[in-house]
Subunit: 455 residues, 2 copies
Amino acid sequence: MSQLSELLSTNYDKNIEELKELLRIQSISSLSEHKEDVQKAASWISNKLKTIGMEHVEIIQTKGHPIIYGDLIHKEGAPTVLVYGHYDVQPVDPVDLWETPPFEPTIRDEKIFARGATDDKGQMFLHIKAVETLLESDGSLPVNIKFCIEGEEEIGSPNLPHFLSENKEKLSCDVVLISDTDMWEKGVPAITCSLRGLCALEITLKTANSDLHSGMFGGGVQNANHLLVQLLSTLHDANGKVNVDHFYDNVIELTDYEKEQMAELGFDEEKLKQSLGLTNLTGGEKDYPYRERISSRPTLEINGLWGGFQGEGTKTVIPNEAHVKITCRLVNNQHPEKIQQLVKKHLEENAPIGCTVEVSLGDTGNPFLTPIDSPMMQTAAEAYKKVYGKSPVYKREGGSIPIVSDFNKILNAPVVLMGFGLPGENLHAPNEHFHLENFDKGILTICSFLELIEK
Amino acid sequence: MSQLSELLSTNYDKNIEELKELLRIQSISSLSEHKEDVQKAASWISNKLKTIGMEHVEIIQTKGHPIIYGDLIHKEGAPTVLVYGHYDVQPVDPVDLWETPPFEPTIRDEKIFARGATDDKGQMFLHIKAVETLLESDGSLPVNIKFCIEGEEEIGSPNLPHFLSENKEKLSCDVVLISDTDMWEKGVPAITCSLRGLCALEITLKTANSDLHSGMFGGGVQNANHLLVQLLSTLHDANGKVNVDHFYDNVIELTDYEKEQMAELGFDEEKLKQSLGLTNLTGGEKDYPYRERISSRPTLEINGLWGGFQGEGTKTVIPNEAHVKITCRLVNNQHPEKIQQLVKKHLEENAPIGCTVEVSLGDTGNPFLTPIDSPMMQTAAEAYKKVYGKSPVYKREGGSIPIVSDFNKILNAPVVLMGFGLPGENLHAPNEHFHLENFDKGILTICSFLELIEK
């Protein structure tokens, strides 16, 4: 262990430079103008895997962005670990709120700032470095290893489930290891045992056949913005509950035991409010405590809305179109496709008089829940303890990694979510960063896990 | 008259080419990147006035865009007519809805399509051509004439009232003549006797100190879009009335006589709905008929709203900012500044828990009402009758020309609003146009008015 640690110290500058190289690539999967950048990131990963000694490395084209596969299978009888991660990133707007440009990685206060620093390039890179370090130190790995790194996680992994189904043999493994989640807090590791699912919808509301002048028509004809407000105001009730029929039908409430555990862990509400610049935390359902709302309750969020004039100055226009982007976070046992249909139905049925409402359905992803007492989970806990000196918290995560549930079901293998991010690292927001204290420690924890499951 | 008519026929192609030149200039007053274009339009007007023989032509700089003045005062004892118009135009977005580019004037179906074709470059240009034609025909004008053409009408004429106050002597006149309004319908002229006023507000709603990831915070923290919807849903009641305290306090209801006149004129609701692509006309106050709502009732319109992600694909963001642009159309005797304060107060008092609401106040303009039996109004009616063969309708206009009330009050002169636009010419919207049948007829009507008031 100390030998690995020394090796990492020696290679630290080189390793960080390599990470920066990867972070510079603008691999935004949701924007078609970045298609080539996404390919560039795929090539980068593929070359890196070859360089560290992985075999059978290939860039596998899909209908969307490519998947990278590579393996090193030399330990007959030893367990096989499949590492999953993603090299695509979220868009960067509003770009003017970044203190340093999103694709110019910059180190400040022992954090590295860049889009993808923590989600997920930074965390995925730890696995590449763990393998490289073990090989450099011992000449071989204690286990068999496979990499499966995709470029469509941020758009809901539309092509990965098919790829998994078609390549069950190739990807067969004893455990799927993923680092795309957070620790509990600075110095306190966590293993995520639950993830929320997701579904997305986009709405276009239309009135007249063109924008109209409010001097000629104001007070007479429908304003798309007004009708949009009317429609959207039906989506939540006064208590913050989602006001869509049957939305909560399949939600599994937390058990009393889980609620107690959550209470024991404590929660510094004042600190959180201060860090977010908020005087209160009144989003979502009033009847549930904050930590439960963000982890084990479903939501419906308006991620974007727009209609009419957004330019400088005044324009006395009656807009004839308005738009909304919605995503729902879902929990066990909600079905993403079913929820999409319920929300669509609600929007269509509540469309105000005088407009048409078109609803298009977007990405979906299943929620995930895993038992915390499985052998692989326990081994992961041991690895964390060795490096961080503390047992990890078992955490319900509010985010979605839709593919986790697919890995679990299609490959019939346990999934271990070993996160090295920290809360507040601004993923999906301006000034995303990763705390560098978890760089070498993250690599060591992964090395330790690989060594421990060998036994 | 027939001599003028022949002269106009002879010069038609040249005149249209000149108008096209003016329409090509992108003089959007509200966008700072078009500042030079606005100056260019000012120079164009100034040169044109000199070319047709106007004297003392000057481009007068203001704190914003310049005013052009010119006069021809050779008829001692004859009335003096002050012509007002504006050479600035509205923005052009959404630009992809224009069938031909907004600044490439194109003639189709005897209409000229371009931003400013009817509002107001096209109509203002008729006065230049009327003076030129009379001078070419008779060698002199029947009256004294002054031009005052500004470049800030579309942003609420912030500098014109001051200019009028400071130049009362220079601008003194017996009548102010303005063409920036519509006829009743094809072939039926109209004189506008009332205009609505205007006030604008812009709202920024803020929650956390940055955008947040809905996976980490969804269900826990306030979403600026949700709070915006909540806030905006308080602005109108279920009957479409503006739900702001004291909003209607100073509104003068139509008299029974005016209501009868409005009913007599008739209104083809089906035709209007068809032309707008609407199945019903349910904007504004349910308790008032359509034509009353768009002309003599005040409104509050959300001209623009936006918050969060508008790009391609999905972004699971909880936006921390949302924005709204509002304008109110006002009627006699509402005070624009007072209404701004009432709306601001409403927005601040109804700000949902968990956000800050900043309201900034924009343009204002007074409503206008003039007696229809004044001598100048009657002369204008006669001029229309000579050219169009029909007496004009006296019309309450839903639009705003804030400066009209100022001309009336500051220069203490009657204002005659002699419009040559037609309803449906898409001013402030894509595919703005002007019906060319009113080009020569408009010029002739103006010539006729100048000849008739001489007597």
